[in-house]
Amino acid sequence: MTDRTNALRLLSRGQILTVIGLIGFGFLIVRAMAFTPLEVRQGAAQKIMYVHVPSAWAAGVAIMLTGLFSAAYLWLRDERADRAAAASAEVGILFGTVMLGTGPFWAKPVWGAWWVWDARLTSTLFLYLLFVGYLILRDSTEDRGMRARFSAVVGLMGLVLVPFVHLTVYMFRTQHPEPVVLKPEGVTMPGSMLATLLVGVVVFTVLYFGFVMQRYGLTVLDDLRQEEMYDAA
């Protein structure tokens, strides 16, 4: 089976997953707004959590998998690992943008400020900018081997930073709250709210894989097209 056939198949499966994810996103919004109880102290603004936290989850998964694919590339020098790392990084930036774009709408009514420079928010922004730099680095390096090596090193740095960002709420005095699910004491949240949050996590995970599969397939198709143009010239 040719590379093109494989790429088209992956692209098609990614599109199906994306459509399922988008339908799930609509379901999540309806469930959050109409079928999940209001938090008494924070009001409706607390429901931003059902998009904000899953997007942070998806961004974290994306960054960690980018790091693992980067390590795999440095170890094996396999072009597939480099493509997977690049696809995951781009999708990670997308979910990072959702996370950073929704957070201020929750912060303003609850904290009284759109943004505070506490350890969690600042370290998250740095990690986000590191990945923006990752994509700029890829775009600005012509040689494929050099591009893959340089970006793999940056991808690995992101992987190292993820645990630090997660632990900032324990290591420093922060405005950002501690996790309500991923913490040693267990879940401290009513069941109906937790169910909606888990729906969000599933939806964003499906979207992550749908987007990454599409992006990977598109990169292969683009590389093949460039090779054809090079051969024809």
Binding site: F25, A45, V51, G101, T102, P109
Partner: protein, 35 residues
């Protein structure tokens, strides 16, 4: 009585939805070009 701040929730959902949808459309358009 919970505070009345539903507008923030709506705004955040719109921002999140538009970003995700825009990227999905971008990928579909790219796919049509490269297929």
């Amino acid at each position: 009585m919970p505070p009345d701040n539903g507008a923030y929730m709506i705004a955040a959902y719109i921002v999140g939805g538009v970003i995700v949808l825009a990227y999905a459309v971008y990928l579909f358009v790219m796919a049509r070009k490269l297929k």
